[in-house]
């Protein structure tokens, strides 16, 4: 069954890049996007996604706050996609403690045109794992 993905990032560019990367996997479908935590929680109620790709630094409600609230409304799995959250940073630790599947960095190198094969594969791979699909 196709798994539903929600992309949460305040940057339109980032959301576009992430959606493009996800679209390379036929088992995954981006069903919605949100620009901050508040927006994301509303979208979760509406769309019931299987996996949320969540940024940490956002205006309004940030990723960590969103994560804490998400636990009250949905069993949706979360993958943190952020450039603050290098593994070992306080935010990354906090996110992992709150039960996210994995903390990965944002896509890079749109210029090289092979996003999907390079860094992108990381996002697809972890999303598949979060959705309970074979990697």
């Amino acid at each position: 069954m196709i798994k539903k993905i929600l992309v949460v990032d305040d940057s339109f560019v980032m959301r576009t890049l992430i959606k493009d990367i996800i679209s390379s996997d036929p088992d995954l479908l981006v069903v919605g996007e949100a620009a901050n935590g508040t927006d994301a929680l509303e979208k979760v109620k509406l769309l019931a996604p299987d996996v949320m790709l969540l940024d940490i630094e956002m205006p309004g409600m940030d990723g960590i706050e969103c994560l804490k609230r998400l636990k009250l409304i949905s069993p949706c799995k979360v993958v943190i996609v952020s450039s603050v959250a290098q593994v070992g940073s306080p935010q990354a630790m906090e996110a992992l403690r709150l039960g996210v599947i994995e903390v990965i960095s944002k896509p890079s190198g749109a210029l090289s045109l092979d996003l999907k094969s390079k860094k992108g594969s990381d996002i697809v791979k972890i999303s598949r794992r979060a959705a309970g699909l074979a990697e």
């Binding site: 560019v13 630094e57 309004g60 409600m61 804490k68 069993p75 906090e94 403690r97």
Partner: protein, 706 residues
């Protein structure tokens, strides 16, 4: 390059621009009124986003630069270091470099190198800051382990959810009991399923919060609901009542607990939970979802759309032209003649022709109306608050006043007034010029201000007001004002005014001189203004866009520049007139009325031609004379039509050969050489494809007075 990548680049351009503008504004605000934690947080976030975007696009030095700034702000965000004016200056420098990089990156779509000295400076600043922080960080680490249910914000989010759910549950159960008799099996089924879902969702949240008693009640409620063997909902309803009661108690506790530990403890005891509490007060959550509903449209697509409407307007005026064409008129006249000679066919033809004409006129009206609405809609699509222009000002004033050693406070009003997006660029130049002019020429040095008994801090006020379809922007300062004597001397010196002129110039006329090419009273050439390219260029550009610029000044008290501009530049209402066989367009905003002047109404008072308009003398001028055209034979002293032109203070009558009709013209931006022609403000194309000059009422008044 693929469309996808192309699109990403253009979005990259937009987003980075937004972040840059926000950073600039916040830095300047911080400099003026001190740093708040919100400002620091949003500055951090903006640099952080710039970094992320740069990484995504493989722009190494752009990313490094933003990263450095982000690091510095990170330390400041932790509260370990103040955001002082040195750091602000450094960050502004970094921002300027980012702007430079951004420009080249957006143009070339590839990495550009950042200034290495600046990078070093940023790195040094960061490392010196960081040393003071290390010790703090270690001491913080231990208490970061707060648990889910102790966070007061999460608690209140839970209350919010539970309020929503309990209300839904009791409402659905209420319906279930009252409608039980009437409802079909399927409807009952659906309602039960809905209640069950709500219960599940609330139970899910309660479980996540470890509120085990609540979970127990909810499970009881759910199984009672599902296990019903008959249509008996007594039990679920009584359970729902208990739930509601529980929720009311929760609400009381919620209001009690606020942020205090005691309150939260009560909640947990009440709900049978014994986990100890040790939360800290969490920062207020700013729900900032204002942007996520917006759709981004490329400026280009919008411009295309507007151009299409412009074209449509041209097509419509062509239709209007055809309807009022002489040929149709002649046809009808001919048919009338024929009809008089008692021809049955002719009278039928006449009926047809007249009906046809009427239909055409109606269609034209309909088209005109819907075109108007379309235009309005389109204009609204591309309106932005004038703040888009104003937000550039704080930085300019900040930099200028710093470099000149003046103390200036900028006050901005009316930034919500909406303008056409295309006006942003058009307004920017004159506005910046006026503000620079104020800082440079208007405002005195602090010492001079003290000597004049003024506060050392000068004020520049920028305000916008909307009048109908025009925007009025005022820039006023409380500086030295314009020295009329100096203006006069300078004007004579530059040969702009004859020294031996009989009557002295009025204040208004003198003030007008400062808009003359090559005029400047500033003694030195400064970085900002006084290079001779001055107000005359601004004036020209403003006029070209259908605006006006005026100035008022009180020596010693200050100067006020007033800029009138249309909210949208694209379409203008004009009155078409004929003079010397040429069709010319007068902007309707300058026209107050049209008079028929009979030969016997003409007066001559002290050699000035004129007539009486409601008892007052109205001076008359031939339009062809004002424009320097050869005089047409027909109007020689025989009266005719006069268009009354005014700018609110002055009023004259323009004699024309014929008043043609009203028109809406799609104004084309024309070459400067056309605009500098006396009396001419622009050009457009008529329905019949002919070019028409759009006159400038202000300029005509000026020529008439001279």
């Amino acid at each position: 390059m693929s469309d996808f990548i192309e699109n990403i680049w253009s979005q990259f351009g937009m987003e980075t621009q937004e972040h840059i503008e926000e950073i600039e504004l916040k830095l300047v605000e911080t400099e003026r009124s001190g740093a708040t934690s919100e400002h620091v947080a949003s500055l951090f976030r903006a640099f952080h986003s710039l970094k992320g975007l740069a990484i995504a696009m493989d722009l190494n030095s752009f990313a490094r630069l933003a990263h450095r700034a982000e690091d510095i702000l990170g330390v400041i965000r932790e509260g370990a270091f103040p955001l002082n004016s040195d750091v602000i200056s450094l960050l502004l420098d970094a921002l300027d470099e980012i702007k430079v990089l951004r420009r080249s990156v957006v143009a070339l779509h590839s990495n550009a190198e950042a200034d290495s000295q600046l990078m070093e400076h940023l790195a040094e600043t960061f490392s010196s800051m960081e040393q003071t922080v290390v010790t703090r960080e270690i001491s913080c680490e231990t208490d970061s382990a707060t648990t889910q249910h102790t966070d007061p914000e999460i608690l209140s989010y839970f209350f919010e959810l539970s309020r929503e759910k309990t209300a839904a549950i009791s409402c659905a159960l209420g319906i279930l009991t009252s409608e039980l008799k009437k409802a079909t099996e399927q409807e009952v089924e659906e309602l039960v399923a809905r209640v069950a879902t709500e219960i599940d969702q609330l139970a899910y949240a309660a479980e996540a919060m470890d509120f085990l008693d609540l979970v127990k009640i909810l499970h009881q409620l759910r199984s009672a609901l599902i296990a019903r063997s008959t249509r008996d909902y007594e039990l679920p309803v009584s359970l729902a009542a208990r739930l509601l009661e529980l929720h009311d108690q929760l609400r009381v506790i919620e209001s009690m607990c606020g942020n205090s530990d005691a309150g939260s403890n009560t909640v947990h005891t009440f709900l049978g939970d014994t986990v100890p509490l040790n939360h800290q007060a969490a920062p207020a959550a700013a729900a900032d979802g204002s942007t996520h509903n917006a759709i981004r449209i490329k400026g280009e697509s919008l411009d295309n759309f507007m151009n299409q409407i412009g074209e449509l307007t041209l097509v419509r005026s062509r239709l209007n032209h055809i309807i009022h064409d002489d040929r149709l008129h002649m046809l009808i006249t001919c048919l009338k003649h024929l009809k008089n000679s008692n021809s049955q066919d002719a009278s039928e033809l006449l009926c047809l022709a007249e009906e046809h004409r009427r239909e055409l006129v109606e269609t034209d009206h309909l088209l005109h109306n819907s075109l108007g609405r379309l235009q309005e809609g389109a204009v609204r699509l591309r309106v932005v608050p004038v703040d888009m222009v104003f937000k550039r000002l704080p930085r300019v004033v900040h930099d200028l006043s710093r470099s000149m050693g003046k103390e200036i406070r900028l006050e901005v009003n009316g930034q919500d007034v909406k303008i056409d997006k295309a006006m942003v660029e058009i307004l920017m130049d004159p506005l910046l010029h006026m503000v620079r002019n104020s800082v440079d020429h208007g405002i005195e040095m602090p010492a001079a201000r003290t000597a004049a008994g003024k506060h050392t801090e000068a004020v520049i006020r920028v305000s916008a007001i909307q009048f109908g379809n025009r925007i009025v922007i005022e820039v006023s300062d409380d500086g030295a004002g314009i020295d009329m004597e100096k203006v006069m001397l300078k004007a004579v010196e530059h040969g702009l005014v004859m020294g031996s002129r009989a009557k002295p110039l009025s204040k208004k006329e003198l003030l007008h001189i400062i808009f003359q090419p090559g005029f400047s009273t500033a003694t030195g050439v400064t970085e900002t203004s006084g290079r001779g390219v001055g107000l005359d260029v601004v004036m020209n550009n403003v006029t070209r866009m259908g605006g006006t610029l005026s100035v008022d000044s009180e020596h010693g008290c200050g100067t006020t520049f007033t800029l009138h501009m249309p909210l949208s530049v694209a379409i203008q209402d004009v009155l078409l007139v004929e003079a010397s066989g040429q069709t010319l367009a007068l902007p309707e905003r300058n026209v107050s009325e049209v008079l028929d002047v009979a030969a016997e109404d003409l007066l001559s008072v002290r050699g000035e031609r004129g007539t009486l308009l409601r008892g007052a003398f109205l001076s008359l001028h031939r339009l062809s004379d004002l424009l320097g055209y050869p005089a047409s034979v027909t109007t020689q002293n025989s009266g005719g039509s006069a268009v009354v032109v005014t700018n609110g203070t002055d009023i004259i009558g323009l004699e024309v050969d014929r008043v043609v009709r009203r028109e809406e013209l799609f104004v084309k931006i024309v070459h400067e050489s056309v605009v500098t022609l006396p009396g001419v403000g622009g050009a457009s194309i008529l329905g019949n494809g002919r070019v028409v000059l759009i006159l400038d009422g202000e300029d005509l008044l000026r020529i008439a007075r001279a």
